[in-house]
Amino acid sequence: MTRTSIFAKNRGLLITLVLLVLLPFIVGLFDGASPVAVWNNLSGNSKFIQGLAIEIFILALYALSYDVIFGITGLLSFGHSMFFAVGAYLTGIAIKTLDLSLPATFGIVFVASIVQAVLFGLVLPRVRGITFALVTLGIASVFHIVIMSTELGTYTGADVGLQGVIVPEWISPANERLRFYFIALVVLISIYLLYQRFVNSPTGRVCTAIRENESRAQMLGYNTFYFKLAALTLSSFTAALAGFLHTLYQPIVSPNVAGLGFTVTALLIILIGGVGTLQGAFVGAIVYRLLDFGLRRYIGESASFINGAVYVLFVLFIPFGIVGTWRLRSFQIKQGWESLLKAFHPDSHQ
């Protein structure tokens, strides 16, 4: 594969990347702030947008990690928030209580993510389908309860949440937000590329086969356990990485990130974006975060009512999500667009 073909293949990704790199400066220009001011992290609209974008990147990373086990491998896990929360809490505890440096913290998070994937992997061969969902829900809620318990309050902050994590100055989200923005962007894009590689690799193909029909994959001679474990490990690592970034970015890690609600968030995001389409995680995270943000701002408390309604409407009417529907219908949409340009003609398809 030559270099040009990679660029040609990922043209959309490249355009997105360039847009995202330019985004803080463009927003700054609209706001009347010069690129230099944005570069120097002066407060303004651009900085606010950067913050929102970082949250979206972290959510997208988290949703990507759920997509690889649910959308690609077909494992319905209700304990996914634990992957995220382990990364988030370990980072906080390592920096705050153990006084470790950032690379060492990252190392710990990395090891822990592998260990917990193996822990989930232990139950893999025994249970399938709904039972797997219940067991993972069980493991995760035990973790949630442990985090919330007062016995560990000095480390985890019990039900208040982990706070007071002092982030190194060179990456602090308050003073060096633009740097944080670029780091999060680079992490997200590289993980996305890794995932694309994984999905298109022979291993990823077997994972897709497991989703479609596990017994047939076994019949073909694949030990599906190893493939599921591989997907789980990758997912666990990514979610822990998202948790790592989350702790660095947010001033307080709320115990809600370990609850079932946060798993549902991931489910919602990839449902909006499209299950099993990696780009769906991006699109879904953007839609979800902006919707949530806008609703909370203009409607207030009942925002989660609208969230639930959006969820139900998506399930009923757009089950393949935005990206999935686009892929399925892109030909028809183009055709319809062309005919719309020619003349108004309602019965063009279906």
Partner: protein, 515 residues
């Protein structure tokens, strides 16, 4: 004999283990503590069972994991509370609800009607949307103007003591009947009826099988007429009915609350299945997500209507007696005085919480079991759990049974909600925690197994209560001087751990069969 033992090995082992654990537990505490904890465990188990059994029936037959079940449990509790505290609102709601439903009762008529009308293709595509829109517009115009007693919910977030005081003083209901001011009653009633008929007609046109010839059954007309009569009676005698309900003895009011909550739960369940879940039978995962979304919506609806304060449903007077003769020392004594507590083996047992609820649980267990084993519907359900397609092939309208089972399951959850409300109180979170319990109970007992649901629920209830009790007493760790006191959050963790362990050993639960 040998065969019998081998078949029920797991059950026997479980019972032996439970008996052993109870024996061990009895060593560590006083007899009165033991009795109370046991009864409390059974009570929690019964409420869990009411939720779990409906959930398991639905999952067994329809393969739908109804994650909104806990929310429906909560909605049942809130509806029951409203009936007891503000009967006037319920009476005001009766007429519009009956009118809205009446149009849908004529379900068979609409396909007939549409097969008579010849329409162009474009018109045919357009008509259902237009009808639905008209219906929504009319509803949107009338409903906000329809007089329904609105009241400040915050006033009722009070203890049962002040509540019963208010009731005894006759000041419970400052009844100010809502009246028609903006629209005339005739317009409102006829408008609602027409809106409902338009809506039902529009919905029936969405269906693909609108062309089939249907015989109009007389049943649908009777249903329509009955709903109309209910609506009109509710409208004409609104005030006197409200006064009658307000003046009613609290026992009867509680009974009415139970019935209303169960009926509305069943109605809600049937509606959910027929409109939202039915299109998704080909995509199981999406049903799961749908019910998740519905659960979020339900919680928000409850927050919007009833707000965040926590309430307590007053106990019916039958279980709420006080005075010199209380606590009763035996059941004859209790029957004479209706004491709220009774002395059993030196322990003060609350009659409603710890005796009445387990009895209701047992009654429901037996009646559902009879329904499953001895009736035609139960036979269809059992056959459907085993092989749905075969039952369909035998010419049984499985879809209708689906709706009925869903309604039954949700009705049971609502019953659980009403019964639990006087003992645990109402809050926005009561559904979630109980649903987790029910899920654990089902996973332990076997997801689609009816006796398994009962066994699992009782296990979960007992273990939780005993651990709470030991949390107060403290567990002496062997060979050390340390007394371990598990903090309250560890209670759910213990049952969850039990579930994980049991599922790892027996992936289908204790009584579940291998697929």
């Amino acid at each position: 004999m040998n065969m019998l033992i081998r078949k029920n090995l797991v059950l026997i082992i479980t019972l032996v283990v439970i008996a052993f654990m109870l024996g061990v537990a009895a060593q560590g505490m006083d007899r009165q503590d033991f009795v109370i904890t046991l009864l409390r465990g059974l009570a929690v188990g019964s409420i869990t069972f009411l939720v779990a059994s409906g959930f398991s029936l639905i999952f067994g037959l329809l393969d739908v994991l109804n994650l909104a079940h806990g929310t429906l449990f909560m909605i049942g509790a809130y509806i029951g509370w409203t009936v007891i505290v503000r009967p006037d609102t319920i009476m005001d709601l009766l007429t519009p609800l009956a009118l809205i439903l009446s149009g849908f009762a004529l379900g068979d008529l609409y396909p007939h009607l549409s097969s008579r009308i010849r329409l162009g293709l474009r018109m045919k595509r357009f008509l259902p949307w237009a009808l639905g829109l008209v219906s929504l517009l009319v509803l949107g115009f009338i409903l906000p103007r329809y007089p329904i007693a609105i009241w400040n919910v915050e006033n009722y977030s009070q203890s049962p003591v002040t509540f019963s005081f208010m009731a005894s003083q006759g000041t419970r209901l400052p009844v100010q009947p809502a009246t028609f001011t903006e629209i005339s009653p005739a317009v409102a009633l006829i408008g609602l009826l027409l809106a409902s008929m338009f809506g039902a007609f529009g919905l029936s046109l969405f269906g693909k099988d609108a062309q089939r010839t249907v015989r109009i059954s007389w049943k649908s007309f009777i249903g329509f007429a009955a709903l109309l009569v209910v609506a009109l009676v509710g409208f004409a005698y609104n005030d006197s009915l409200t006064n009658a309900l307000t003046a009613l003895n609290s026992n009867w009011l509680f009974l009415i609350a139970v019935i209303v909550a169960m009926a509305s739960g069943a109605g809600l369940g049937g509606l959910m299945e027929a409109t939202l879940i039915r299109p998704l039978y080909s995509r199981p995962i999406y049903q799961l997500m749908l019910t998740l979304g519905l659960s979020a919506i339900g919680i928000e609806m409850v927050r919007a209507v009833w707000g965040r304060p926590e309430f307590v449903t007053p106990k019916p007077d039958f279980f709420n007696g006080t005075g010199g003769a209380c606590p009763a020392t035996n059941f004859a004594d209790w029957w004479a005085n209706h004491c709220s507590t009774i002395l059993l083996w030196e322990g003060r047992v609350r009659v409603y919480n710890e005796i009445f609820i387990p009895i209701v649980g047992l009654v429901v267990l037996i009646s559902i079991w009879v329904l499953l084993q001895r009736t035609r519907l139960g036979m269809i359900i059992r056959a459907g759990v085993q092989d749905r397609e075969m039952v369909e092939a035998l010419g049984i309208n499985v879809r209708r049974v689906f709706t009925m089972v869903f309604a039954l399951g949700v009705g049971l959850a609502a019953l659980g909600g009403v019964l639990a409300a006087p003992s645990t109180g109402l809050s926005n979170f009561m559904g979630e925690s109980l649903f987790l319990n029910a899920l654990i109970a089902l996973a332990i007992g076997g997801l689609t197994n009816y006796p398994g649901a009962a066994l699992g629920s009782v296990l979960v209830g007992l273990i939780q209560q005993f651990i709470i009790k030991y949390g107060q007493i403290g567990i002496p760790v062997p060979f050390t001087e340390i007394v371990f006191k598990p903090s309250p959050p560890l209670v759910p963790a213990s049952t969850v751990l039990l579930m994980v362990i049991i599922l790892l050993i027996l992936p289908n639960g204790l009584l579940g069969k291998k697929e």
